[in-house]
Symmetry: C2
Subunit: 159 residues, 2 copies
């Protein structure tokens, strides 16, 4: 792996991230889920990975304001050509460190049951899958977690 | 004005709020901007107004995690038949109190230049409009605040 740098996000990163999402998500258009608001108000817990000027990965997360023991990972993407090189693990590690600084001991995240890569990644990272109220492709899901007919696999990790 | 109650939002409020938005926004479909994530992780700074079982209004806000002096109001809606009765002002007052408890002295929000009701409301509440980098309908706007071709009127109030 060539050298790369990790830094906190800036509002100006939003357009770069949005512009790669359809490609990185294999044609799925999830851009509507990633409001620029996150790039304005949650910069300290969100990260960009770059090599020279190329965007390699990003993580958008925040500290839950409902549960002061929880850090939430909202969106993570890694450039398809730079996967399986430890970049995702490094991003999560940076986020976990921020959570510890903020006295958060539980990390939560979720993904769609169709996203097998994300499910496998979270399992490798030690996340447990919450029981939920349904099963899709053999995977426990929470059927209406982010809205009606939007079943999600919910992840939870104690750090 | 009949009696109404104000309480913090719950995740289960999301579907009710989403179901009224097109109607309350006069046909504009802004539902994609209001992720359920806000109803899960920002409950303590978000509010629901009800009279018996009827939804009268809501406010979704949070404490900025980039700027620890800022509270941000993300979305506010009042039932069209219950406007001009002080409900919006009461919601903002509740949010301001939360901001003071969290040592926030600056409230920020934004709206589309087309939303004259929202602009007038914020001006009555004492918000200043940030200078921005453009003008639409005589109103200063920030052209790419929430994305390219999504100009917004930015509000700021010191409390």
């Amino acid at each position: 792996m060539d050298k790369y740098t990790i830094r906190n996000t800036l509002p100006t990163d939003y357009q770069r991230v949005i512009s790669v999402m359809i490609d990185w998500w294999n044609g799925r258009d999830l851009r509507y889920m990633l409001s620029k608001i996150f790039f304005i108000h949650f910069c300290n817990t969100s990260f960009i990975v770059e090599a020279e000027d190329q965007l390699l990965a990003f993580l958008v997360g925040f500290m839950s304001q409902t549960d002061d023991n929880v850090g939430y990972i909202h969106f993570v993407g890694v450039h398809p050509e730079f996967r399986k090189k430890g970049i995702g693990r490094e991003l999560y590690s940076q986020f976990f460190n921020k959570c510890k600084l903020n006295k958060r001991r539980i990390i939560k995240s979720c993904t769609s049951p169709v996203n097998k890569l994300s499910i496998a990644f979270h399992q490798r990272m030690g996340f447990l899958i919450e029981t939920g109220d349904g099963v899709i492709d053999g995977m426990p899901v929470t059927l209406n977690y982010l809205g009606v007919n939007a079943p999600k696999v919910l992840f939870r990790l104690e750090i």
